[in-house]
Amino acid sequence: MSPPLLEAARLNRSFPVGGFLSHARRKVLTDVSFSLERGEILALVGESGSGKSTLARLLARLDTPDSGDILLSGENVLAREGGSASLAYRGRVQMVFQDPFASLNPVHTVAYHLERSLVRHGRARGVELTRKVHALLESVGLTPAEQLAKRYPHELSGGQRQRVAVARALAVEPDVIIADEPTSMLDVSTRRGVLQLLKGLTRERGIGILFITHDLASARHLADRVLVLYAGSVVETGRTSDVLQAPRHPYTRLLLSAVPDGADFLRTPLPARVATTPPPPLGCAFAPRCPHADVRCHEALPPFHLPAAEHHVRCHLESSKGVPDDAAVSS
């Protein structure tokens, strides 16, 4: 069996808090592991501050984890390259940022952005260059390409800019694209097009996409698998249909119950307490909010449990399995 396209193994990241001379650190990611296959879309969901962007930056090698490994086609890249990524890694793993108004340099044209990626990775040069730029723009649905190539970012709409950002990532012909909330800054009427574009890429070119979002509805429509992050830890992961239609972790259920969908969504109470304290260092991070928390939850980190094939849940209720499913949900 061939190794997964991209694999994260027990990634940890903490940041210093407090001022000068303070050694305190805050843990932002704890033992995050997952894998991404060729042609697959993996959705990473979680509330803001749960560590989604931090994880994206680690995988895009804009930041280095405190510990843990990143494997690209089975090869441990951190062990070999250390802190700064090789050009070869950049040529295989690309990123699309959240805010298309910030990710393009206002002083350069659309063509410049694409040409640089093409040249830097030796994908085209000379007379080829312009033709390739136009082909890229057309492939993300930006026509007429000749005209758009000459524009500056401020002369484009948000949706067009995000397409340019996708085209720039595609220019290096990557195997993996990390998309950090690529549609959250866009108007709703342009969102769908960008999502469709990403989906097409995985199908046509076999690119693996890590799709970061806080919008469960788009995750449902786009992703093959879902990874739920809470306070820097993976709490549930599995096939989209399993995780979003038969959620096992109380936090996943909470998230789903808060999605504004349907006439009644405001009439159903939230199955959790309001967050008042930061996650505890010991035990389950969700325990202070969880309606089902018992003494075990405050004492020990629950192990992963597999209720179905490829479906992992990190909750004592699940792992003890003595409790029937419905009892687990009603408070």
Binding site: L62, M95, N105, Q245, L266
Partner: protein, 589 residues
Amino acid sequence: MRETLRRLLRQRKAAVGGTLLLGFLLVALVGPWFVMDPTELMGQPHQPPSSAHWFGTTGQGQDVLAQTVVGARETLAIGFAVGALVTLVGALVGITAGYLGRRVDDALTLTTNIFLVIPGLPLAIVLGAYLPSGPFRMVVVLTFAGWAWNARVFRAEALALRGRDFVAAAVVAGESHARIITRELLPNMASLVASSFIGNTLYAVGAQVGLEFLGLGDVGAVTWGTNLYWAGNDAALLTRSWWIFVPTGICIALVGFSLTLLSSAIDELTNPSLRAPPKAPKAAVVHAVATPAQEATAPGALLSVRELSIEYMTQAGPSRVVDQVSLDIAPGEVFGLAGESGSGKSTLGYALLRLLPSSAAITQGRILFEGTDVTALSPEALRAFRWSRVSMVFQSAMSALNPVLTLGEQFHDTLAAHGGGSRASSYARGRELLAMVGLKPELVDAWPHQLSGGMRQRVGIALALALEPRLVVMDEPTTALDVVVQKELLQRVLELKSRLGFAVLFITHDLPLLLALSDRVGILQAGKLVEVDTAQRLRTDARHPYTRLLLSSFPHLGATDTQAPTPDVLEQAASALKAPLAALPGGRR
């Protein structure tokens, strides 16, 4: 780039400063060929201006005009050379430090700071003694003494730009550090480079003249500084030979003046807030086609907006962002206003409280609140009306809360402005209001920065409800919040609404949310209200194509699911909240 240049030229400051400076450059360049030899003794010493020597002669008999004109050449050459060098060195050191960060930054910043605290000029002069005398020495000395300050400015700018996504995107694209500094960061600092260069040239001319006047330059050269040095040596003041130093003095002042004008022009160009704002369009309030008031107001409506148009004055002329909007809100109703960014939602919301920025004006129509025309209220009447009848919750609670006041003080401010009582009673009411929105009453003593985003929005709602208004305008109050926090907040709003009976105008781009929350929903497209109907009917049979487009843009979580995500929770829902108020009949326009 060309556009920037054109705007620069159109500016009066830039035009005057530029012309003046260009004049001096021309004189410095070609002038020396048209005047006498400035070092030769051409006439009697201390001669006042005459036809032979237009500016008179020096204490030794040289021509003052010749000295002034020839002096311009070296003075300006050194000035611009130092200006360019200081900017270049400062920018490279500063950007490298700011961009690379960590150890490189520590080392470079330490060096910079040392240069800033040591008295650079005297040190440079001492070191300069080892260099051959001449213009080159002056350039080295002034650059050595001046770069550090610039490095700090550029470092700060690089630190600000470094965190921007386009830099991260360039790293991911595989660009090298050197290329990121020169091609990504530096071009974004064009205005800083330009204004630093001008500022540094100003510094260089001043410092150079000062040093030479003190005799620390090359006294054999002809520059404005040495002119003054010799004037002093030759007792120009004692002999009242004003003509010896006045021309040079005026030249120095004019060069300084032109450089100052240029740098302020650049600042204004790049920082639009320094520019005078465009005038708002004339509020030629064309009171909507002479319809009598009783006809305009729907019976029983709390608020009636009639044919309201609002225009912003922009650089390109007036732009209409709200276009003949009419709508009614009944007492206790939740009216949702949906639209994409730029559709005019917030402008409409702000107009209801007459909180429009000065560049916007209501050009047509009226806003009738319980029969009073809000557009015609006097300033005092408006002050009494705002907040007590209609209040507002803003998208960013932080901008609505005063960061330097405790919550209790903010409640007191709001209550006292409307004839409230003592501080103690304000605090008591503040506690009550905080409890009402589900926060701990003790938080009256907290500062805004101690609260999370969701808590701040609750405080925003508590403040909006402080005077028991009949209508609360909520402008994307939950857009910045997570779905879970959003739902908590909205459930609280609905509960308070049914308890206190206020009406809500809820503005958001999130149509599914609005449909679940509102009794009636209006769809705004490019300033026009294209459809208004009950939430229920919009969900199933929207008529306008734009509404349908919006509706289809939101993916659903479980439209096709047979199994709902949390069936047991749904069961508990039955008694949770009161059924929504019977809505006004939805009009379509």
